[in-house]
Symmetry: C3
Subunit: 137 residues, 3 copies
């Protein structure tokens, strides 16, 4: 059995941003030497997410508008009594989920044609990270 663990660091320029990770994850899988297995891609923060969907800018706008509608930024959260102002980012993280498991087959990410892995930053402009953990043989 082989494993590989790497951490991807992000410091997005905007507070909210999507970063496509597919190629980076594919490179780490290659580096791992794993031919059959799984690659976990998981945010290590509670105000960020990781998801799989389409690499289409119009859809990105739709996703942001949708997240804002279902988990809006607003002052009236109990979490803000601690001095924080990012409760919406926590809820957006729960909604989109913070991790995906990518199957690896014959040494490659076994994704559908249109599937891309994204990091979703909901409270950026500071250093944050994602763990990529590959396990298999």
């Amino acid at each position: 059995m082989k494993t590989l663990t790497e951490y991807l660091w992000f410091e997005t320029q905007k507070k909210r941003e999507l970063v496509r990770l597919t190629d980076t994850v594919a490179q780490l899988v290659k580096k791992s030497g794993v031919k059959e297995g799984f690659a976990l891609v998981s945010a290590m923060h509670i105000t960020a997410g990781v998801f799989v969907n389409d690499n289409e800018p119009g859809l990105f706008d739709d996703i942001w508008a949708w997240l804002e509608g279902l988990a809006p930024e607003k002052p009236e959260y109990r979490h803000h009594e601690t001095g924080e102002d990012n409760a919406d980012a926590h809820l957006k993280s729960l909604l989109i989920h913070h991790q995906v498991m990518v199957p690896i087959t014959r040494g490659l990410l076994d994704l559908g044609t249109w599937q891309q892995v994204f990091y979703a930053e909901f409270d950026g402009q500071r250093r944050k990270r994602v763990i990529v953990k590959v396990m298999g043989e």
Copy 2:
């Protein structure tokens, strides 16, 4: 370590449909020979989901109504400027999530009494697939 990879193909008659996968996944786990491990069940499309819940038709209606309320079909999505008309299917996929990991114990799916694995088609009537990847020993 053993692995098994299979692809399940779907071409639903309706645009939106639920397909119960539990028995198929259980058969693939048996075929794999894995006694202790994990079975990833993951949609390979960005307009479909995989989830675990109850096999109860009334609840299916509730799930569909709920998904439609939170991620409605409507013309006004930026994604539709590309000529597509299925942005709601992308959002429904993000909401329900596109994958589950089923634990395998003593060669069987280690699910609770009422847990069933479902494929959720949000934009069907064409050939789409799900990967089942089993890993363990």
Copy 3:
């Protein structure tokens, strides 16, 4: 390859409750002897969830209010025609998701500083359980 499977039992005093699982999962990982691998933490019921987020009581209130807003308790669900009254608990489970995969590195849970694993009970006051399945080497 090593695996360990344990079941955590819950009988919450309230109908809805959050239970922090991080330390218990960490102990099971230690017990497993796995140094590099994954720990799946997965609810075995369809009216409960497992998620990773912040251990902050104000945020707990925000999460409950948010879940209630997006998946409200109300009489008018088709599922209730079966005699059940907990359709909202099913939808809350789908929204928050029923499982997480925790990476294990050098024998420890490889979580970010603020990441905690929670069990979310949406229909409690009876015995329910979570599977923790550790796999690695």
